[in-house]
Symmetry: C2
Subunit: 150 residues, 2 copies
């Protein structure tokens, strides 16, 4: 990324990356979101499939619900049981999950290939690529310029 230098500031940068990480910037939070994307929204199974400590998972689910990323719905009356679903804001985290997955597939495959493959509705194995909406070219850091920094 080309950089337009601005005056050195003593303040942390105002930044959407930092703001997002305040909400989901913790391993167990993102793994909880991953589980719901994979169709698993029930607490015990989320704990099992992430390996999270139960207390930690419970705290993350409360925070994700309070942040409007997940919502909790009752699916059984007797006994009362609940499961988590993604809100629209939660579903919009899919690109974050996919780019994390792709990086791991590339750099941390440990010789075994990707642990999970996704098929796109077009019928091909999904290779997800970040492109510029305007020109369609793949986005790489060296071809972007920061316009303004507060």
């Amino acid at each position: 990324m080309l950089v337009v230098m601005v005056a050195v500031s003593a303040q942390p940068r105002e930044c959407s990356v930092a703001r997002t990480l305040e909400v989901v910037g913790e391993k167990w939070a993102l793994l909880a979101v991953r589980e719901v994307f994979l169709g698993n929204g029930r607490f015990d199974e989320m704990v099992r499939r992430t390996g999270a400590p139960r207390d930690t998972m419970a705290a993350r689910l409360r925070a994700l619900t309070a942040s409007g990323i997940l919502e909790r719905r009752q699916y059984s009356d007797h006994p009362a049981r609940f499961e988590y679903h993604l809100t629209d804001a939660g579903r919009d985290l899919y690109p974050v999950i996919l780019t994390l997955m792709r990086w791991g597939d590339r750099y941390l495959a440990r010789g075994g290939g990707p642990p999970l493959r996704l098929e796109h509705r077009c019928g091909h194995v999904l290779g997800a690529q970040l492109v510029c909406e305007a020109c369609g070219d793949q986005v790489v850091a060296a071809e972007t310029t920061a316009l303004r920094s507060r």
Copy 2:
């Protein structure tokens, strides 16, 4: 995402998202990477612009260097001073940073609009979109299917 259910497992899922989060799944680590993308690879300034505690930032930089995401290069002899640069693996984290940024721009803008705008080399303000490499359509969770889960 459509889900192909597999036998319930007592084991945490083998998953590239989880593996990646073991390396960069912590707020200060990703903010350190953000700073280097923004052209700021010097320790004191990284501390200032992220707001990270110095000890925490030092630990994250050591881990990111050990993981092959950053490399430390000397830029001054007297006194000996160092700055951090992205490796190829580090540069490939750009989509992760951009998708986090985009989500924050959308959901956490606090009425002020995006704090940072990027311009693509095509001349347009960058709107980065995740698309399928095969068909070019935007990727949404409801249009992908898990092929295999270990």
